[in-house]
Each structure stands twice: as C-alpha cells, then as structure tokens.
Symmetry: C2
Subunit: 323 residues, 2 copies
DNA sequence: TCAAAAGTGTTATCCTTACACCCATGT
DNA sequence: ACATGGGTGTAAGGATAACACTTTTGA
C-alpha cells in the first residue's frame, strides 16, 4: 500500500541521513480564580514553542528553556502529549520535513515573573462548549447542536449520515446518553470536520468567520490543546496531579473548585471531601482560612508521602453532582 | 537551571535549523498459543525500526514500511508509545542529534508471510518476572526479591534505603501489598537500576552476565517493550483492543486465555464471560468449535458495532481469580 | 465412567450516589 | 436572623468477587 522505504538495515549508515526539524510545543496549564488557563504568546493564538537544538540536554530541558525564555515562566510538572509530523514545509528551496513534540505542563500562576508578550487565557475561550459547570452552555444548545445535525444530515449517503449522527451523539451526549467530559478531542474533531471552526493559516477561507463563536489558534495548536484537556481530565481521576496546580495550602473547597474547573462540571461536595480524605491525599496544616463569607475553613496541604506510595492507583475519582 | 536556548522567536527562521535524525521503532505484539509475543529481528534482540525519511507520507506509514520490509508483516492497529532523545550519537565527524518515536502495534501471527531474518519471541523471555499465571515465578521469589532488597539496603544513607524499599514494595507487591500487573515499567526500572539486568551496547561490562536470567536487548529496546506491555495491560481494561489479537471467530475461553497471557495473571471464568457478554462486545456466529477435549464451545465474533459506539468507556475489566 | 471444558445461578461485600442535616462565622 | 460556606451521617442501589453447581462432549 504505502510506498516502500528504500534501503535495508545494512546500508542505513551509508545513505545520507534524512534529517528533520524538530519543534517542541508546550501546553502550560494553571487554574486562576476557578478558571483553567493556558499560557499563550503573540495574539493569544500561539502556544510557546521552539526548535529542539544542539545545546539542549534533553527534550524536556529544551522545552523548559523555550517556555522560560518566551514567557518567563519556570515549569514544574511536565508530561509528553503526542508527536506528529507537520504537513511538509518548504525550507530554503528544498523540501523540509518537520515534526512536533507536544507536552502538557502544570504550574501555578503566581510564579509568573517577566511579563513578556504572553498571557493567560481561559481554555473555555477556545472551547466554549466544554464548560458544563452551569449546565449545558447555550452555544452548544443553540448553535453547535443544530449545525452539527445539519452537517450530519447533509452527507451524501445514508451510511455516512448514520455514522456522523452516531459520533455526534456519543461525543455530545445526545439521545439520553451521558455527557462525558473526557471526549474533548473527539468533540473538537467533529466541530472542525463540520467546518464550524477554522484555524489561522490553515489554507481555509480567512474571511468567512467561524460559525461557532470561539477563539481560534495558529496551525494545529487548538488541537493540541484539546488533546491536553482530554488527557488532564482523564488523569486527575487516577493520579494526584491536581496538586501541581494548587498553592502550598488550600481549603477543600478550593481544591474542589479547581477540579471542577478542569473537568468542566460540578461535583458533590460531601462525597468529594470524603474521597480526598479517605485516600489520605491531604493533611491538615492546623491553620484555618479567614475566607470570604462563611465559617472558617481548615487549611490542608498535599501529603507528599503519597508520591512515594504512588506509581500506584491513588487518585481522585469524581463524585459528580447530579444534573 | 538549564542552559538557555539561544535566539528569540524572531530569528528562528534565520538561524541554521538544527536538524535531527528521527527513528521509528515498532513493538509488534501478537498472541500465539497463549503466549504474548513480540516481533524481533537479528539475534532476537532488536525491534524493527528505521529512519523517518522524505518518501514517507506520515510517521505511521513510515513505520509500516519499515516493519513490512524487515519482517514481511503488514500492521493493523497502531498507537504511539513515546518519543525520546537518544544519547548523542557521533555522525561522520560532527555531533549528531537523534530522537526515536516508538509505537505499539497489534496483529495476528498467521498474517506472517516472508520469513526474513525475524521471529516471534515470548515477551516473558525478556521479563520472566512478569508472568504470574502460575503464581509468583521462582525467578522472582528466589533471585529478584533477595537481590533487590540487598540493593536497597546497600544504599549509603537511610533516606535512600527507605525510598528504595518503598519502591520495591509497591512495584513487586511486597509486605502484603497486591501485585499490580500494570507496573511493568517501574519494575524494569528498579531491576535495571539495581544492576540486575544489562543491555547490549550500553557501555556496561559485557563480560559480566546478567544476575537475573533473562534475555537482553539492544540499546533501550527492552525499556520500550516494558512501556508497551504496561500500556497494553492498562488499555485492555477500558478499550476493546484485545480483538485486534484474535482471529475472526473464537471461543470465550480463547478470548480469556489471550487476556490472561497479556495480563500475566489468571482471571475468573464465569465472571469474565458475563462481563464480556453483558457489555455486548461479542455476538455468536452460530457455529461451535470442535476443540481439544470437552464439550463443544460456541464461537463468537467481535461486534464491530461497538467501535462506532466507542470513543466511550466500553472495555474489558479483569475479574481476577483469587490468589 | 471419567476428564475436560462449557456454561448458569446465587450470595456477600464493597463502593458509589444521593440527599438530609447540623455547625460556625460575618453582616 | 440569615446567608455562606464548612462539615457529618446514612441509606439505597449497583458492581464485583467468590464459589457452588449443572451440561455436553471425547476417550
């Protein structure tokens, strides 16, 4: 099927190596005022990135270098997202191959220092249909769903129509199916395929506005973001990564609000507390917070001990609040 | 901390691009006679691989090309595992950067055709301690565990000793902890760090034999294998990927034995059947198998319909048999 | 008849979910 | 007093795990 690569293992050393340009791209996430935010540069439509170069000791240190230089932000937790080949770019005269390695990083906003031309944007500006904390948002109900169904029914043959409706139904929880917050990537793909959003510089008509109001990004950066959101929403359920986004000490409600911000849905307070405490993820600091309104709350800190214990199941299941 | 990368975004186009060699590496898995096998070339210590080159339309098609050429095997299901930078290699006189992108692929053995210099090896030849289908294997009890504890206790300071014992305990299920089959990578890392296994051409003493009897591999191929095993063991629990390894039609026991081969542990028959059937993963073909011994078994086929339905939770939880 | 594998039924237990309710503080 | 958030108790329902038991074939 595919054209065969030439050359056997033997002469691999002999042929001129096919060299490739490698880019590192970072999706840096923090939660500020109960909003999940990503770090952007330029017109808030580009993720920090830069080429993997000789002076970098490793992929991760290269990434840290670029992000720190472009945004002034040091990175803590990092995990790899995905590696993909870009559409061929044209170098100086000859064909140029390029691949991108994307990463997910978690930090706290405060650590910001040099405010170069960069900023934090709520990820729901790019994915307004992903925020279900106040119920299904009207963008989804009034704009997305009707247009998606239109698109599905506009397919040539019956098989495609059925397949499209099926995908839309599972991705958006139609026909009585439950909403699944982890399907962010599938939803983005649907919306993109249906032509309801456009990206900058992707050879599509730049004059026609997006049919669904949402902020676009350069190249496939928004797709990388969707991948990262999905990964994070899944991961908080089985690994204690939320704490990378929390300050040293926090109240249980702050923790809950952070998880809700990421998941895009509300969770049940009493059950959440029990879950967190019984798993021994946190311990009391002994102090209390003199919050806005209400009875003072105990302050907690993350029990670093569980990280040793970790590599094991521990995590935060989500006791969702009923809809 | 890390040395900063030079150059700002502006002059990225101007500087000579740092070009890199990109290798594609495949971990191809099949299950034959209830043994999980990987496809190897050479002395059974190398995974199929080759450079990503200009003529490849995409990363995946490049991978397919190399595997088919080196082993004669066409690939079906493929998923990306991990991308890492190799230790610097020396090119012709100048420093050469290289990265490897590893993939996990699932097939059936029968599809084999050209038997070039390649073969199938049980993955338990490389990881004898991972097979708990007949209880904890003696390699682990008699060799690994004592030596690991020796290693842990041999650490200089008390903190390191504690940390090592802790890691060993969770990874191998010591001190009453349960065995977790998904921790394959953590176990390999421990065993490697403790110097109980060695790999070919990694600058370590090649005359000293491995302390734990097991087959070694070239460079970091065995580590890639550990990553793939862990990924697969985790994935079969929430996505119906086992069926990529099954023939068109099969009995429920065959399905069970395949899952057991991958997981490295036995599962409870009645509960497994119920699980599979109630999730509507399979449907009867109407025929029965005239097996080796015993009452004839109904044959089933995978319900492809669930793949449309998919992107959703469906999968195969493992109702383990008690130890 | 026995071995071997195919199947079915039933129970105890735990985890999750839902929800009702009381406590402490500021305005 | 009441609004706001902190915090506890409990009961119903579903999923899982454990295991006992019946059925159908070939040797």
């Amino acid at each position: 099927m595919d054209k065969q690569a030439k050359g056997t293992r033997k002469d691999r050393a002999a042929v001129k190596a096919d060299e490739v340009k490698v880019d590192l791209i970072a999706l840096v996430v923090a939660v500020n005022d109960n909003e999940p935010c990503v770090l952007t540069i330029g017109q808030a439509d580009t993720l920090p990135s830069g080429p993997f170069a000789l002076e970098h000791r490793s992929l991760q240190s290269g990434l840290r270098g670029w992000v720190e230089q472009q945004t002034g932000h040091p990175l803590g937790y990092i995990e790899q997202l995905y590696t993909f080949a870009d559409r061929d770019r044209i170098g100086s005269g000859r064909q140029q191959r390029a691949i991108s390695i994307s990463y997910l990083a978690l930090t706290r906003k405060e650590q910001a220092a040099g405010s170069r031309k960069c900023g934090w944007r709520s990820w729901y500006e790019y994915f307004p249909w992903e925020d279900h904390r106040s119920g299904t948002p009207s963008v989804e109900l009034d704009v997305l769903r009707p247009r998606l169904i239109e698109w599905a029914d506009g397919a040539g043959d019956a098989a495609t129509r059925r397949e499209r409706r099926q995908r839309a139904a599972t991705a958006f929880g139609l026909d009585g199916r439950p909403w699944n917050e982890e399907l962010t990537l599938q939803r983005y793909e649907l919306v993109y395929e249906a032509g309801l959003v456009q990206e900058a510089g992707s050879g599509r008509d730049p004059t026609r506005p997006s049919l669904v109001p949402s902020k676009s990004m350069v190249a496939d950066h928004r797709r990388i973001m969707a991948t990262g959101i999905a990964r994070l929403r899944s991961k908080i359920k089985y690994r204690p990564v939320v704490f990378e986004l929390m300050p040293q000490s926090f109240t249980l409600l702050q923790l809950q609000r952070t998880v809700e911000a990421l998941a895009g849905r509300l969770i049940n307070k009493p059950n959440f507390r029990r879950l967190v405490e019984q798993q021994e993820l946190v311990e009391e600091t002994g102090q209390t917070s003199l919050e806005t309104g209400g009875r003072p709350a105990k302050l907690f800190r993350f029990r670093r001990a569980v990280l040793d214990d970790s590599a094991v199941v521990l995590g935060t299941r989500l006791p969702l609040a009923r809809a």
